[in-house]
């Protein structure tokens, strides 16, 4: 049946995995071609039939795959907004054109949405009629026994001394895995309903997955945060460094949890060829579900997020925050705290950059640009001059170098905490290499700065995604459905017992697999043989003369 669709129409949707479709009857489509001079309704029906045809579904599947490709080749905002910005800098004339086609947001672009929405409409249009047809089939009795069982793909015949009634009785127990119905002198059985059920479940589960994803995007939120060892965090909008709410997320009602990062421990491989590779990160945290709630502990690791109040807290990265104490020109301590320095992405030694802003220093504001080296070592640079470099990402022998500025830091304007606006400042000079405890006296009596030590910091991500569990459930259902539709064999079998001319009972067994499978023939043969053997051993079937009870 799968091959029966005509060339001009070709729109008959058939079973997804081979064999005749059980839901064939539900196919509204005949083999009709394009409608000539039809009413709007006719056109609509024609379009619907095209959309729900298997060929359209196949083409949409290919478009779905094809459309995903540019998203893997061009930087995507959802993955790495920085790389998109970089792309704009590198290709200033091409980037706006790509933007017009949403190529930096492929997976949320209207054209990609059009593909998958069409695909899901097509899928719905196919699956719902099939689901209904299957429901009818499940509720209906197995079909009537055909007159000529000898024409079935498998048929067997033998005679027995047992009464026809006795044969059918034994037939019921031999074909116990079939749903059986008695028609006159025969039994009609059907098995393997789960294949079509699996097919329907699989496709419905995919719809469920799409809805879960959409719900996650709409109602979820994601935020990033940098937390220094010893510091705390409370889940409010203002605590985040960056926050990405879903379109329908309720930003005023975030889960009221809080936590403190008590300590952080980073290990790196010390020796051998893998020296410097990260080995493990672990942060000890104390957290509360809500203010006043009981304190709990969690060890945050890369694969062990903290789950609190419907929010997952993940460890994204780790680096160091050197601590500085700054005295201004009047000898007052105007700054004393750790400052997170961001590691350079390509540097295996995790050399990190950061700035220290001391706008309250007197007589003039102070600012520092610094470099932090976790394990500093002198080496000869490419130009032959000695230079300082970090040779290991762990803080074994940390050092900082600073460049000091004085003047107006421009704090009245919003600015990044990682950048110093030196346009209205004057450079004071560069420090030498500072080790923990070292103090650098600034020129011109502007003050002094002490590198007092360092702390670890962790970059964290918090996500709330209400679509998580429904998505997992849908995906699991999809796998179950898939297994059913790929491995269950729908099949029919019949047993007929009729009195022969010699007084013995003629037994006919026949089987029809709805999918091509040699396993069907083998099963029918095994069952036929079993029925024959049972009747042979059956005392009640001991010849035509034996009594019924």
């Amino acid at each position: 049946m799968a091959t029966t669709s005509t060339r001009k129409g070709g729109k008959k949707r058939t079973d997804g995995t081979g064999g005749p479709a059980a839901g064939d009857g539900a196919d509204a489509a005949g083999g009709a071609g394009a409608p000539g001079g039809l009413s709007p309704l006719g056109w609509a029906r024609w379009a619907w039939r095209i959309l729900t045809s298997m060929r359209t579904a196949l083409i949409l599947l290919f478009l779905l795959a094809l459309g995903a490709i540019p998203g893997s080749m061009l930087p995507q905002r959802v993955v790495s907004p920085d790389q998109v910005a970089q792309y704009y800098t590198d290709n200033p004339s091409l980037a706006p054109w790509l933007e017009r086609f949403y190529l930096f947001d492929v997976y949320s672009s209207p054209w990609y949405a059009a593909i998958y929405l069409l695909l899901f409409v097509s899928l719905t249009g196919c699956v719902i009629p099939r689901a209904l047809a299957h429901l009818r089939l499940v509720r209906a009795r197995p079909p009537k026994t055909p007159r000529n069982l000898g024409r079935m793909p498998y048929s067997a015949r033998f005679t027995t001394g047992a009464e026809p009634e006795r044969v059918l009785e034994q037939g019921r127990s031999v074909f116990k895995r079939y749903r059986l119905e008695r028609y006159g002198d025969s039994l009609s059985g059907e098995a393997g309903y789960l294949r079509e059920a699996g097919n329907v479940i699989f496709h419905i589960a995919l719809l469920g997955l799409l809805v879960s994803l959409a719900a996650g995007y709409a109602f979820g939120y994601r935020g990033n945060m940098l937390v220094v060892e010893g510091d705390g965090f409370a889940n409010t909008l203002t605590s985040y460094d960056s926050f990405y709410p879903g379109v329908a997320a309720d930003q005023d009602d975030l889960a009221p949890f809080s936590f403190t990062l008590d300590s952080f421990d980073a290990k790196f491989v010390e020796d051998g060829g893998f020296s410097g590779q990260a080995e493990s990160f672990a942060g000890e945290m104390t957290y509360k579900d809500h203010p006043g709630g009981p304190e709990r502990h969690h060890t945050l690791e890369v694969n062990k997020p903290l789950s609190v109040g419907g929010v997952q807290v993940y460890l994204l990265g780790h680096a160091y925050a050197p601590e500085f104490e700054v005295r201004d020109g009047e000898g007052e301590v105007v700054f004393d705290q750790p400052v997170p320095f961001l590691p350079r992405s390509e540097d295996p030694g995790k050399t990190a950059d950061g700035v220290v802003k001391v706008p309250d220093a007197l007589p003039e504001g102070l600012g520092f640009e610094g470099v932090f080296l976790p394990t500093a070592q002198e080496r000869t640079g490419e130009d032959g001059e000695p230079e300082l470099a970090s040779v290991f990402p762990g803080a074994e022998d940390p050092a900082v170098t600073l460049t000091a500025y004085s003047g107006d830091l421009g704090m009245r304007q919003a600015q990044s905490v990682y950048q110093l606006d030196t346009s209205r400042m004057e450079e004071l000079g560069e420090s030498g290499t500072l080790r923990p405890g070292d103090t650098w006296e600034l020129p011109d009596g502007a003050g002094e700065v002490t590198f007092t030590g360092y702390k670890d910091f962790a970059t964290l991500q918090m996500t709330h995604n209400p679509g998580r569990l429904p998505a997992l459930l849908s995906a699991s259902l999809a796998v179950l459905g898939l297994l059913g539709t790929l491995f269950v064999r729908p099949r029919r079998a019949w047993v007929r017992a009729s009195a022969g001319p010699d007084g013995r009972t003629v037994v006919e067994v026949a089987g029809l697999g709805k999918t091509e499978s040699t396993a069907n023939g083998q099963e029918f043969h095994r069952l036929a043989t079993e029925l024959r053997d049972r009747l042979r051993e059956d005392p009640a079937a001991d010849g035509p003369a034996s009594s019924k009870e």
């Binding site: 298997m54 048929s155 980073a266 036929a528």
Partner: protein, 365 residues
């Protein structure tokens, strides 16, 4: 902040070097087997295969003793021998019992299948078996040496995928007489292993923290096993396309000579190819889902359009299209075989291209 030495994780050097020797040994074994299979394909005699042991279509494997619907028309399904005297013990009515012999008729649509065969092929299967054991030993010793699951980088993936492809092939060879696939499965295996040993080789060592999870055993194993099965399917699909062309030429009345003339029957290859997609597709689906669960744990989202995720999705979609195409008029045969080849290309691109061309979260190589 505590800084700890990591000396205790250093790999066991003795085991590691033992494992390195095994790589060479297994490549040699596979190469020898490949050579023998090629000889069989070229110089064997085209022989009809036994109908009862061919690939079942689309459903569970048949019971070993039972006969299949193998022949072209009516087949003697009573291969389970009818106990001729078995009725004798029943006593007096025994004479009547002759009538309860089964007379069976089967209408099968399975055409005659044939492939080039030679004794060298049997030797090649044995050599492949040796290679398989060496492969297994290599993986085990490497895992023991590093004290972790032995799939944490590209080199280890290739070795594990080879193991699964060869296992799938050996199963097909022993169960379905499909050793005619030997050349087509071992060729990519030997190539991949060569690439792995020459360019991808990595010292035995510890994993980065992101891979410290039991999900590596689940997600990566499923992906590796699925890839192995897809590889056999891809090999069969390519052979199918070649064999189909040969068949078409024959139908046109052209004479076909050389190795092409000895290719196995296209229907058979088509079914082998489909069979392994049927096995691999749910596994691949599961691998993606397991990966999503792990991603949810490790990266804070279960799906984030990372290049690796995108390409495994593309691969999934293409194989889904393959399964649908096989049931659609006008897409059967060569068209669906091309889709299968396309799926395999996407799979390989996901493995090599994505790791080396794009930077993403899966870049552990």
């Amino acid at each position: 902040m505590v800084y700890q030495l990591a000396a205790e994780t250093a790999a066991d050097q003795g085991l590691a070097s033992y494992s390195d020797h095994l790589i060479i040994a297994m490549i040699v074994a596979y190469a020898v087997a490949l050579f023998l299979f090629a000889l069989e394909a070229a110089y064997g005699r085209r022989t009809a295969l036994k109908g009862d042991r061919l690939v079942p279509v689309g459903a569970a494997a048949p019971a070993a003793a039972a006969p299949g619907a193998g022949g072209s028309s009516t087949v003697d399904l009573d291969a389970v021998p009818e106990p001729g005297g078995g009725t004798g013990g029943d006593g007096g009515t025994g004479g009547d019992r002759d009538g309860d012999d089964l007379s069976v008729s089967v209408r099968g649509s399975e055409p005659q299948a044939s492939a080039s065969r030679n004794v060298l092929g049997a030797i090649a299967v044995a050599v492949t078996g040796v290679g398989f054991l060496l492969n297994l030993a290599q993986i085990v010793t490497r895992g023991l040496a590093a004290d972790r699951w032995p799939w944490g980088n590209m080199f280890e993936f290739v070795v594990a995928i080879s193991l699964c492809s060869v296992a799938a092939f050996l199963y097909a060879a022993l169960r379905y007489q499909a050793r005619y696939l030997g050349t087509f499965v071992l060729l990519p295996v030997v190539l991949l292993l060569g690439i792995a040993a020459r360019w991808l080789y990595t010292e035995t060592g510890p994993l980065v923290p992101a891979l410290h999870s039991y999900w590596i055993a689940i997600h990566v194993s499923a992906a590796i096993v699925a890839t192995g099965a897809f590889m056999v399917s891809g090999a069969a699909a390519i052979t199918y396309l070649l064999s189909h062309r040969t068949e078409a030429k024959r139908a046109m009345g052209e004479r076909v000579a050389g190795i092409a003339a000895k290719l196995p029957s296209p229907e058979l290859l088509d079914r082998v190819s489909h069979r392994f997609v049927v096995i691999a597709f749910p596994l691949w689906t599961f691998a993606i889902i397991a990966g999503a669960i792990w991603a949810d744990e490790a990266w804070g989202r279960f799906w984030g359009w990372d290049p690796k995720e995108v390409w495994s999705f593309i691969t999934w979609v293409i194989y889904a299209a393959y399964l649908h195409a096989r049931a659609t008029a006008g897409w059967k045969g060569t068209r669906s075989a091309w889709i299968g080849v396309l799926g395999f290309a996407a799979l390989m691109f996901n493995f090599f291209g994505v790791n080396y061309m794009f930077s993403g979260l899966h870049s552990y190589a």
